[in-house]
């Protein structure tokens, strides 16, 4: 498509997000713009079926390889809330970690259970 595949790939990612953000605002949808952008990009990938060397694969791969980096600035915001975390330590720990554990167990259990059930049905 271009002699700079990575540039093309990044442009497509930005374009998809832009389309998503504009769409949710125009239609007043209560869905985040990037999620709509993801659906758009998914359709592009299904239709074009790009090769491993294409920018459509290389740009998203690069971002996903360094996904953790992108959360650092918002995470550093914890320095602003150190007092709150200390004062409300118990409710925050309960609401965060117990709820995290319940969510993980219920989701994992439901998917594993249903998958096993369907496998049995097919036999």
């Amino acid at each position: 498509m271009s002699d700079l595949p990575l540039l093309t790939g990044v442009l497509v990612l930005l374009g998809c997000q832009l389309l998503g953000e504009v769409t949710v605002r125009l239609l007043g949808l209560e869905v985040p713009g990037p999620v709509v952008g993801m659906v758009v990009f998914f359709v592009i990938l299904r239709v074009r079926r790009p090769s491993e060397r294409s920018g459509l694969v290389r740009a998203p791969s690069l971002l996903l390889r360094h996904l953790q980096l992108l959360f650092v600035p918002a995470g550093v915001g914890i320095v602003v809330y150190l007092d709150t975390l200390r004062d409300d330590g118990l409710p925050l720990a309960a609401g965060l970690w117990l709820s995290w554990l319940l969510g993980l167990a219920v989701t994992g259990g439901a998917v594993a259970g249903l998958s096993a059930l369907r496998r049995k049905d097919r036999r």
């Binding site: 993801m38 995470g75 409300d88 319940l102």
Partner: protein
């Protein structure tokens, strides 16, 4: 006559901490150290995001640089969370043949997970003595950061604190998630991926991608669907538990 060369430490420091260069270099530097520590030790507890947050946070506290000043540079990194969310379509596309066959378990798992995450976050925060603002702040914590932040603002929580709690939930999934899933005897790669994505969004997904491409793809899908489900369910469930 003015001398050709002077010594201006205060002016230089004031310029440096107000410049985007400071926050940007600090963020990438912290992440580089985090990756190095993760590779060097091989410990799942030393996730690069965790090491980077601790290092950058420590530097800000030691130097008394306000978080807002750091964000002048940090926001350039955070911006890419949006395009990275779009990028999650890639593993989904690559593993679509597996995803399509598991549509029912995926949907049931994600909806059940979102209901439990939101409901228990609000109720447990309340039972442990948290006030209303704190409960609302906690409610959307399982959805990925841009989404949880927006939802928190919408329902009357503290958006920046929600972002921090969301990232803590993510780091919990990346550090101990697979270990907990082993203890729960959930071994199906699809179930593990869906579970990690449902409670630990992008950070959990990055750990799932380390484990296997299939687990990563299911985690990416789960995180996207959880973002959707959470945006729809938070306003609804809040009315119910009130």
């Amino acid at each position: 006559m003015t001398p050709l060369v002077g010594w201006h430490p205060h002016e230089t420091w004031a310029w440096l901490t107000g410049s985007p260069l400071f926050g940007l270099t600090l963020t990438l530097g912290g992440y580089a150290v985090g990756r190095w520590a993760h590779r060097r030790t091989g410990s799942p507890l030393l996730q690069p995001v965790l090491v980077a947050i601790v290092l950058v946070g420590a530097v800000l506290m030691l130097t008394d640089v306000p978080y807002a000043d750091y964000l002048a540079g940090g926001r350039f990194v955070g911006f890419w969370l949006g395009p990275a969310t779009v990028a999650l379509a890639l593993p989904l596309h690559q593993e679509w043949h597996l995803v399509r066959r598991a549509a029912v378990p995926i949907l049931v798992g994600v909806v059940a997970g979102a209901v439990v995450s939101i409901g228990s976050a609000v109720l447990l925060t309340r039972v442990a003595g948290g006030d209303r603002t704190l409960q609302l702040t906690m409610a959307p914590k399982a959805a990925t950061t841009p989404v949880s932040l927006a939802l928190s603002a919408q329902v009357g929580g503290l958006p920046a604190l929600t972002a921090v709690l969301t990232i803590l939930a993510g780091i919990t999934g990346a550090t101990v998630g697979p270990w907990v899933l082993d203890r729960l005897r959930i071994r199906d790669l699809r179930a593990r991926g869906i579970a990690l994505g449902a409670v630990s969004h992008g950070i959990g997904t990055s750990r799932a991608l380390q484990e296997s491409r299939t687990e990563g793809a299911f985690s990416a899908l789960s995180m996207a669907l959880t973002a959707l489900a959470t945006s729809l369910l938070v306003p609804l469930l809040l009315k119910l538990v009130e």
